[in-house]
Symmetry: C2
Subunit: 531 residues, 2 copies
Amino acid sequence: MNLHGKSLLAGVLGQPGVKTFRAMNPATAVALEPDFHEAAMEEVSRALEAAASAFATYRTCSGADRAKFLEKIATEIEALGDALLQRANAETGLPLARLTGERARTCGQLRLFAQVAREGSWVDARIDPALPDRQPLPRPDLRRMLLPLGPVVVFGSSNFPLAFSVAGGDTASALAAGCPVVVKAHRAHPGTAELVGGAVTRAVAACGLPAGVFSLVHGGGSTVGIAMVKHPAISAVGFTGSHTAGRALFDAAAARPHPIPVFAEMSSINPVFLFPGALRERGAAIAQGLLTSFTLGVGQFCTKPGIVFAVRGPETDAFMAKLGELVRAAPNATMLTSGIRDSFQENRAKITGVAGVQPLAAGAAVADAAKTEGQPSVATTTVKDFISHPALATEAFGPFVLVILADQLADFAAGAAALEGQLTATFHATAADSAGVRPLLAALEQKVGRVLLNGFPTGVEVCHAMNHGGPYPATTDVRFTSVGTAAMLRFARPVCYQALGEELLPEPLKNSNPLGLLRLVNGQPTRDPIS
Amino acid sequence: MNLHGKSLLAGVLGQPGVKTFRAMNPATAVALEPDFHEAAMEEVSRALEAAASAFATYRTCSGADRAKFLEKIATEIEALGDALLQRANAETGLPLARLTGERARTCGQLRLFAQVAREGSWVDARIDPALPDRQPLPRPDLRRMLLPLGPVVVFGSSNFPLAFSVAGGDTASALAAGCPVVVKAHRAHPGTAELVGGAVTRAVAACGLPAGVFSLVHGGGSTVGIAMVKHPAISAVGFTGSHTAGRALFDAAAARPHPIPVFAEMSSINPVFLFPGALRERGAAIAQGLLTSFTLGVGQFCTKPGIVFAVRGPETDAFMAKLGELVRAAPNATMLTSGIRDSFQENRAKITGVAGVQPLAAGAAVADAAKTEGQPSVATTTVKDFISHPALATEAFGPFVLVILADQLADFAAGAAALEGQLTATFHATAADSAGVRPLLAALEQKVGRVLLNGFPTGVEVCHAMNHGGPYPATTDVRFTSVGTAAMLRFARPVCYQALGEELLPEPLKNSNPLGLLRLVNGQPTRDPIS
């Protein structure tokens, strides 16, 4: 498949750029064809303005029309066939099987958001009809629903080149909510971005939507990104990546003359608490599950378990022995980019360099830098050291886990108290452990976005009940999820119509309830029309 | 009723302060007894830490318990009887009839939030049960609901000494959501604040809640306020007041190591568009309605209509003649504080000083500075001048309105395009005007939080469908309302529980649905238990 290497600006190819770059194949350290052209700032501005102009039309599209558009994007992505998977594999080193699954998730989530947009009740319609005879004052007719917020800038993530990139969760939820999207392509997979961007662009045209509903921008680093966030045409930002970059975007957005929300999903070490009963009952299985989880995707998941608490004792000794054995046998694998590999090694060294941290085990093979390999490893420390050395809470984004040993179960609470905001917290416990679980659960549900029992946090289900978020620094806005259907709520805002009358009211609020929505009428949920 | 003049810090009176201040009676310019003591910063910190500590308990209270607490606050406020109204009247100059109505609104909204908390479905419970046999991967059991965010700092407003102050909408919605509250009392009505704060404190004790659930702090100006917003114990901020103060709080919160949301409701000029058909049909009634609305509460409402667009023509001439006549006959009235009166006069002068602005009419009596009087007035300008002079969009918080004349109906769009974010926009139109209303409605619903037809924006109904909010600079967070039951959503965040099991799950998520909530199960709303 031929790649043109240009930005896709409201349906039009960008100009050849002054600066170009190439994707690298991390498995071979070879640069891939073709050159990608960085968009000039005036091209980026044009894309943002086209999004603002398209918003005037796109915001009024029905949920059914948005649904068709999202479904068409999914079909167009599938129609790219193996070429997409092969390019993504070459650019990321992720195996084809994983990318096949990720493509299914990407198209699945587009179709799930389509369902929610088509059904329509997500707009949270509320109607308090007029009470003309109320004393001392009549009540006017009041009706409220969520409307789309405006154009959204999405920064694709490196670690999900399909599911959290050009047509990933942020884009799908913004489009479903009625917001045009301008994607800043991740520089590690520009070809994958171009292919998916082409699919979205074709879907825009096929659905007869204004071209400005979607643009894809190739650009250099943070300067373009900050400029996009500061642009007056933009109403919100979706981002997945590092804390440093996410915070810079948040700060830029907060400092605007008119601040806008930034949904940055940034960093998490996803603590796991292993209770003695669980380790006694199935310590080997937990070791196996943990290995799978922290090496999945070469440890490059936001939800990778980075720290594991356990209480000293024979069951923990057996667990650690098993874990060590598994880690020594675990193969190296190609990481996404050499930069990510360098950061991983640096952050791991920052952790293992703290006095009192002991190596437990590492993969037997030496990691090959020419293949951008990450080597699985595990180290141990104590709760006391974890609390006194904040460096031990560094996120090492890659296949590494730190086991933190407690002298007694009560030390789990102190370890939990030392944690910053996280995406997830996990417990492995049996019924016998439940007295210890309850207080820890109460403490941790205040610090995390998702609590798991007897599972592992990697593998984020896309569904209605998912919450992928958490207190800062896990994200910049604890009130919202970036995965699952509630992600649409990030890109919407309420508007109230007072005494507007049936003819002028939007469909979701008309007396007849033509869309059959579940609405709150006088505070009671109902699909009945207003009589 | 004796006032002690101290802060109420988690149920304990504050210490005598180094600095004291008194309330002024704006109607007499006489200082009122007693001295109020500014809390020392260490006292403020103690209150904030007590709130954080109380949160551990209060967050686990059932909706029914929170409801009883809110209802008890309402009862305690009512039990203060006339003494509360008299003090509020002395401190604000607002008439007793208005204050009686405002007390009813305050207690009514406490009871409405109690209803919502007791019913419980507001937590937006979502359950996607396990699919153990799903291919290629099983789905774990996932359940999500909203939990309270954490301690909230509330800054009482000057213009609603009851309904948007110590036990007003921000406090009631935060408490209903499960968040302790620390109120910074407004310095213009410290005695009213003390009385209401005492009522809340008694309700805390009567309900057996931890004392830290509520504190009331008297303090000096912005230094204490900024320090409160920066305090690590705090999770969110509610504020109603000026743009300058609101933005300062927002900036301080955004610059925290861990940023927190600030819900600042700041400034709005609430445009009104008068269509020719409506003016022909009932121009005199509109003039009377406008006068009532812009002089209500001496023009000191966030939703006061500050600008009115009309198309030149005989019906507009007649309307202006009527409006002028009404304004000339309108009495002066006491404003809330001399500072607010000074700002009003300054901002009005800023508007009327722009070249091309013509006075239309003013109240016949001279405003008496010793009675802190505001004088009703109206001026006129043109759409062209309005667009070219941003100063004409200044909010003059008081009884003033600017009529903006258009040469033709099409100029309304240009006027609307020049507007910043607003709380409300109002249309007066007949069926004959509807072709002109539609495009303007589409433009304005993107700029405002509430759209009204043939009414006036003052008088914000407290109900489920209200939205009191809007794009910046009307508020700092367009995604939320500060009035109505949806205001609770500001102070909550989602948490997801994965495979937690019936015993550990919170009540709203248990299989049996013991609270009878409306929940989203597999994406379908139902009150049925999970079988």
